[in-house]
Structure formats: C-alpha cells, structure tokens
Symmetry: C2
Amino acid sequence: MTNWTLAARAAKMNSSAIREILKLTDRPGIISMAGGLPSPHAFPLDAFTEACQTVMQRDGAAALQYSTTEGLPALRQAVADFLPWDVNPDQVLITTGSQQALDLIGKVFLDPGSRILVEKPTYLGALQAFTPMEPVAVGVDSDDEGMLVEDFAAKVGTGTDKARMAYVLPNFQNPTGRTMSEARRQALVEKAKELGVPLIEDNPYGDLRYEGESPLPLAARNPEGVIYMGSFSKVLAPGLRIGFVVAPQSVYGKLTQAKQAADLHTPSFNQRVVAEVIKDGFLDRHVPTIRAMYKAQRDVMLMALEHEMAGLDVSWTRPVGGMFLWVTLPKGMDAQALLAKAVERGMAFVPGAPFYAQEPETNTLRLSYVTVPAEQITKGIAALADAIKNYTP
Amino acid sequence: MTNWTLAARAAKMNSSAIREILKLTDRPGIISMAGGLPSPHAFPLDAFTEACQTVMQRDGAAALQYSTTEGLPALRQAVADFLPWDVNPDQVLITTGSQQALDLIGKVFLDPGSRILVEKPTYLGALQAFTPMEPVAVGVDSDDEGMLVEDFAAKVGTGTDKARMAYVLPNFQNPTGRTMSEARRQALVEKAKELGVPLIEDNPYGDLRYEGESPLPLAARNPEGVIYMGSFSKVLAPGLRIGFVVAPQSVYGKLTQAKQAADLHTPSFNQRVVAEVIKDGFLDRHVPTIRAMYKAQRDVMLMALEHEMAGLDVSWTRPVGGMFLWVTLPKGMDAQALLAKAVERGMAFVPGAPFYAQEPETNTLRLSYVTVPAEQITKGIAALADAIKNYTP
C-alpha cells in the first residue's frame, strides 16, 4: 500500500467556505447574493475578441512562447503608468491573479507560527492563501474606516512574536464594503512605519469608486514599507487571471523567485491581450460604465434594505464603491441558521463567520449587489427580511 | 524603518541557474543550445487564432468569468480520454502549467526536512519548485534507463526519514533525454509499491516520441500509488500555461485545496481555447508534424556530434523523443569553465551541475536541438568541439 503522508500544513488547508455555500445555493430559482463574481455585463467582449486577433496576428508565436517571470514589459509599464504615485516598472511583478500574489507573499514572509494582523472581518481568500504557511492570523478591531490604529499597535507583538505584516484592503473592502478614510490611512501608515511593520495593501476594487475622491493608497505614502496588490479582474475580467504586485526593491527579487518556482510566469498570451486592450486609455472609457452599473445596483439594494428592514434591528454598510455590503443582524441571531431559512424563501447570502480570523461575529452576513438584476434585488431583500422576521434560534 | 523579515524558506529560494545563463548567452550571434523552449514553428497559430474567435463568440462572458478550481469539465474529460489507461475525469486537476503541479505537490506532501528521491540528474525546475517547502532531495543512481531500482530501495529510508515521494521523468527526460524501459518501469513501480513510496511521474514530453513504442506510464501500472503530471506546453504551446495532474482520489482533494489557495483556478479562457483546439483529434494530426521536425533536428545534431567529437573522449545520449540530449565530457573537464570558451566561439549550452540534487557531475552538459536551425546546429557543435579541444583547466 502506498503511504501518502501529508505535510503538516495540509491538515490546515480547507476549501473556501464560500465555494461550499455556492455549491448549495447556486441553483435555478435562488436569487443569489452570495457570489463574489463581477457582473458578466461588465466584460468588454468585443475589445477582448479584437485584442486576441491583434495579438495573434502581430505577435504570432511570441504570444504563445514561454516568457519572463517578471511579466510582459509593456504591461509592467502600463501598470506603473496608471498608478497614482511614482512607480518604477522594475517594481511591478505580474501575477496569475491577485490570489497568487497572496500565495507568494505567504511563502516569502511567513514561517509557521508567524503573527500576521488582519482586519475584523477580512478577505477570506487571503486567510486561505496564507494558511498553508501556518501563520497565526490575529484580527485587529476595525470600524467603518478599517483597522483601529490603537488596536493595531496593541497587537503588533514583540520579539520573535512581532507581526510579520498587516494585511489590509482599504477600498470597498471584501466583505464589508467599507473604505479607509484619508486620516485613518495616514495614521496607520505612520504607526506601521514607527513600529517597523510591513503593510500588505490589497486593492482589487479601487477603480470601482462611484462616489467621492479616492484617498492615496498606503503604498504611495511609504513605498518602502508597503507591498501593493492590484488586479484586472474587476475592471476587465477575472477569467484571464491577471493581477500584479508592486514591491519595494528589497523584497522584489524574492517574490520573483517564489513566482518562478510556482508557475514560471503568468500566461504570455493573456498578458499581451490585456496590454492590448488597455492601451490608448481604454480603461478611462470602460470603467465608468462599470461604476454606473454597480452604483445603480447598489442604490436598488440600499433602497430595498431601507424599505424591507424597517422596524427590524438590522444595520448595513453604505459602500461608495466595489461589489459588497455587510449586514449586521440582531444580536444573538445566527447568520448560518438564517441562511437555511433564506434559501427556503428563494435567496442566498454568505454568512459572515468565515471572514473572521478568530472569534467570528456570527450575526453578520455579506451581500453582493452586482450580479443580480435590479428587480430581483428587491425580491431577494424582501425574502431576506421575511427570513429574519421568521427566525427562530 | 520597515522590518521585512523573510521566512526561513526564503533563504533557500533562488533563481533558476538556467535563466541566469540564458541572460548571459541569449544574444545576437550566439548559437544557443542552452534554452528549454519548444520550437515556435511547432505552435499551431492558425488553430489558436480560430479557437480564440470561436470561444469568444460561442461562450462570451463565460470564457472571461471566474470558474471552478478543478478545471473546465470538457478539458478534464479530454485529458481522461487521451491518456492510455482508465482515468476518471474526477481525478484530473487542470494546473497553471506543470510547474504549478510541482508547487502544489510540494505544499501538500513536503515538510521541512522531508526526504524526496530524484533521478541523477533531474529536472531543475522540480528542485526549484520543491525547495520552498525545504525538503532534503536525495539523488538516486541512474543509468540510461533511469533510476536504478536497487539504489532507489537503498535510499528510501525508514521511520520519519522515509522518503515522502520519488520524482521521476520517464520519457526523454529533461535534462538527459533518456527513457525508462518497460522492464525498469515495472520494476520501479513494484518496488515503490512494496515499500509504500508514492511516485510522482512527470511526463511533459511523452507525446514527442519519434522512434519505437511508448511503454505504459507508471501511473497506469499502479494508479493508487502515482501522481501523473502532463502538459500542453510541448504539444501545443507553453504560453497559455495549461498543465494537468491525475491524482488518486485519496489526495485529489488536498491538491485542489492547495490550488484554490494558490490562484483560485487556471485561466478560464485558456482552458476553453485549448479544449477547442484539441477537439476532433487535432493532436493526432498536429503532433506528428512536431515529431518529424524534432527528429530531423536530432538527427542533424547526432551526425554533427559523430563528426566533430571524433577522437575526443566525449559521449552523449541518443534520445528517442523530446528536446534534449546530454553530453559527458572527459573526466576532470568542468562544463562551467568550458561554457566561457564556447561562448567566445559563438555557441552556448547549459552546464549539467544545477540538475543534480547533490554531488554534481561537473563534466556534463545539456544541449537542446529543437530551436536552432539545422545548419546552425552543425556550426554550433563544431564550435563546441573546438572549445573542448582548446580547454585548459
């Protein structure tokens, strides 16, 4: 008998709780606000089709050959150019989606037992990406503006237990939809710098702001102390798996070595297609159409919540961008138990618990407003309200 | 000052020695037999161009949306169908190139200090992929037919030091070009089964056989004890990064969880394009053209070696498929030192040392015959012979 002995870390790996929920709820007749997908109506199909043709005709075999680990020079340059601070293309590493960036960061910076600080709640996929490296993820108390700087400082730790990094998602966070204010960003960056703690800034949704002006990224405030992660998944399409990292030169080399060992390089063809699509300011024309679409969907959901949740002890966030909002149920109500009731009534959401590194607030849930048609949003929120009214512990 | 503390494993990561050599030798005027690239003339450009159009027109947004971690069902089915033993598509995991499969296997099976057995020499990229998980790679004595079963058994180890796996490349191995015989395959599989040691069978070149019949894969002989890795990089094109794993059900789930944490899924678009290209027996028509091309190139190189190395104490392998052959220089001659002389004379190769887990045989080198035009092969081998004749330690 072959003895498949697993690594110790394998015992800690698990499948995304969301993917398991989606298997149960992704079926005809269910209005699903559980998914994390961007709207397929936001994908520029014609531009992609045309870019595929252009790339194959212009670049031929080069588009299908092995290429450098760092990424296509034209794409690295384009990323450096559109970011709102002074970025050298040599600092840009193209990744196979943002998820890979998390994997590489975990490998390069986390030993078993390493402390990392995360928001309360935080992006589930980041916890999943870091888990194989066996860190101890510690949740930092957070409010509508993100991590509380005092609690961040209190939880940094000392000596060998000092936090290796703090992972934050400043714009329209997944799962809460909240955004770090100008003041909070500045205070967090200064405190992190003072304490010597690296920040990992994840910004997949930043371009999807439909209200107000965006404060500068954390990385712009202290480029030597922050690794910045971005993605084309939400502004173009996720199925090509093109993300990127901007890293200080001191750690760029190690991230690149980890990337080379992980998949040699991100698909050459996909990088060329994205570079072709975005040249000549395509994003400046295209992204406003996504913003308008998502804003309209958000408005419908906010209106439905106002109407349907009236008189219930329920609150929710009012995101100024992105794809998600976060609902807090009455104390003691368990979102996991509520989900079964909601599905019976024809709607689905994601319970909040899996988004917490520890001590989940079980009376929370995440709603996506971007893939459900407007009339269905109203119906779905009504079904959710009905499930809440009929909740029995 | 931000304190970027690296994980212990990061100290062991390094850049591929080959990529570093390529940076030095990949320049105009150098006949490079150092690369590991397939010939760009082997890429079916028209079929890809057409498939991109078909996929975008037929599948639209679905081709650009997030998709399942396991991979596109049609592609998993196609893989199961073309493999020469009874494979259930549920055992097939689509990976972002074969390199990712190595990364996932390392994460799932290797603890720091875990013993793994590899051929002498072995594929450098595998060593690089496993290294971040900090195993101890032990080279097993190997001859023209691959691992010697007696030395395999002698090096398996016992107790907590027992080998977690043995990694082998049975067809036209990278770097040596050698192939495991029917008898050796059967003997290795039986011994591995008896000793309970899992085998990792890497087969990126298997379809590029231009002489004789292929013995059955190791996985076909003991499906519960072997993880099989394949790739479309050599029969279609590497730039799409589409590989696959066939794994026993007992470990499939953990590999899939590791994959989900690593990059969520392999690009949806690329999987659909490959599935579209290969349907209706395309590979049966296309791969013979690659075989014919590579065989002709191999023949030119073998003839040039016969002619140019006459009278020198130099030997080489005669691969029956794949892309590489392996040269053994006179004892005491150092291939790394020889490389400088060869580059002066206008040709480049890869010294053999980086392909050894330990105790490199420094009088070896790898030649690729697939990307250099025939007339240049003759010229390059003459330059190599001249460098050998003028070698001074």
